[in-house]
């Protein structure tokens, strides 16, 4: 059995080395769609971090009581319960943003990262490291999406968090608000990271 990781190692792993978006391009579906506005991205990220951390914790607490065969179903139900909490809270406190996010909050359930962390880490580790791992991975994910929003909002609307930051004469690039803009931005990000910080054997080749 490998030596248990220290808290700091868990954090670095989750934030950078195992960064789910840049390394594995996983779980972008539910959140990429809202990256054209920074506010929406931040709310969505907060929801995601909460869901990953809490469901990792719960899965880990229950890890000795969950039968192997039905563990996927149990994990899905745990995740779905936390997503419902997130959805209701956003509806109650931020109704306008809830309107803008539409179905994407619910889609956190099928976000591969949440399930991936439960399956890969929380299932075999004690509660506290699992919780930390969930937070670290959540932040790693949030960081990437926030940087995508940081490119898309100023170029697409000329604003950041609603404040105008581009000069008056700037013509917004409509394409950046629409779907292709997100694909291009994420594609270039992934390219950059893989080219300059190769990690796995396959990438180093």
């Amino acid at each position: 059995m490998p030596k248990p990781l220290s808290n700091r190692e868990i954090f670095v792993q989750g934030l950078w080395n195992d960064n789910p978006v840049l390394r594995q391009i996983l779980g972008i579906c539910s959140t990429l769609a809202v990256t054209n506005l920074m506010v929406n991205t931040l709310v969505m990220n907060a929801g995601l971090i909460f869901t990953v951390a809490m469901s990792s914790l719960t899965v880990s607490v229950l890890r000795n009581y969950t039968p192997m065969r039905i563990r996927m179903m149990a994990q899905t139900l745990i995740i779905a319960s936390y997503v419902i909490i997130v959805d209701i809270s956003i509806k109650a406190y931020l109704p306008e943003i809830s309107e803008a996010l539409g179905p994407y909050v619910g889609l956190i359930i099928t976000n591969c990262i949440v399930m991936g962390r439960c399956e890969a880490f929380a299932r075999n580790n004690p509660p506290w490291p699992s919780f930390l791992d969930g937070i670290a991975v959540g932040f790693g994910y949030a960081l990437v999406l926030a940087s995508i929003a940081l490119v898309r909002e100023p170029l697409g609307f000329g604003t950041l968090l609603g404040f105008r930051i581009m000069p008056q004469g700037f013509t917004p690039w409509t394409i950046m608000i629409m779907a292709p803009g997100a694909f291009f931005t994420l594609g270039v990000f992934a390219w950059f990271v893989r080219a300059f910080f190769p990690q796995t054997a396959e990438e180093k080749r």
Binding site: C29, G106, M115, F183, F184
Partner: protein, 197 residues
């Protein structure tokens, strides 16, 4: 209820509101499976079938069970369980009665439960207040649109692997995302034809 006939909605879901290219749903299996055309088509076909059926089932459950009982907040749990159960059921039926089809689609079926496009379609039809026929048309259209996108990208990637020499770091997901972006641009050309929300 939205005033739009089901036929129009069907084509809108394929072209102007393609679930993958405009709503970013189903990207994870899309990026990992689209390495070759054959696998893309197999997964695509499975998605079309499951998406159409679950759209119908989820519509009925939402309006005839959840709404009268005032349990709408539980729709996420209920929908995901229905989708998982349906996929399991289909897998068993196909394995038992259509072994040939099972060899073609079998490995893709379990992947579908976690395909966000399936759950996404069910959530969209609730938010947009579609009727039952509209929901079925939307489910089928979205499925076919998804299949179209993954098949097209699969074919392009197959060619790229054989011929092109890519710069360092661009192989794999990065180039796929860029291709998808260009394809999304091309699909935007359709958007003048039909408008749905």
């Amino acid at each position: 209820m939205v005033q739009i006939d089901s036929g129009t909605l069907f084509f809108a879901a394929i072209f102007t509101n393609n679930i993958l290219l405009t709503n970013f749903l189903g990207l994870c299996p899309f990026l990992s499976i689209s390495r070759e055309l054959r696998a893309s088509l197999g997964l695509g076909a499975a998605v079309v079938f499951v998406m159409t059926c679950t759209a119908g089932i989820n519509y009925l459950v939402y309006y005839h069970v959840l709404l009268p009982l005032n349990l709408v907040h539980f729709r996420f749990i209920v929908f995901i369980v229905i989708i998982a159960a349906f996929v399991q059921l289909v897998e068993m039926t196909v394995e038992r009665y259509f072994p040939v089809l099972y060899y073609m689609l079998g490995i893709f079926l379990p992947l579908i439960t976690v395909n966000c496009a399936i759950l996404g379609a069910s959530l969209f039809l609730i938010i947009r207040n579609y009727s039952l026929t509209q929901s079925l048309a939307y489910g089928a259209g979205s499925g076919i649109g998804w299949m179209l996108a993954i098949a097209a990208v699969g074919a392009i990637r197959e060619k790229i692997q054989k011929s092109a020499k890519l710069p360092k770091g661009l192989e794999g997901p990065a180039i796929t995302l860029l291709i998808t972006g260009i394809m999304a641009l091309a699909f935007m050309a359709f958007s003048g034809m039909i408008q749905i929300q």
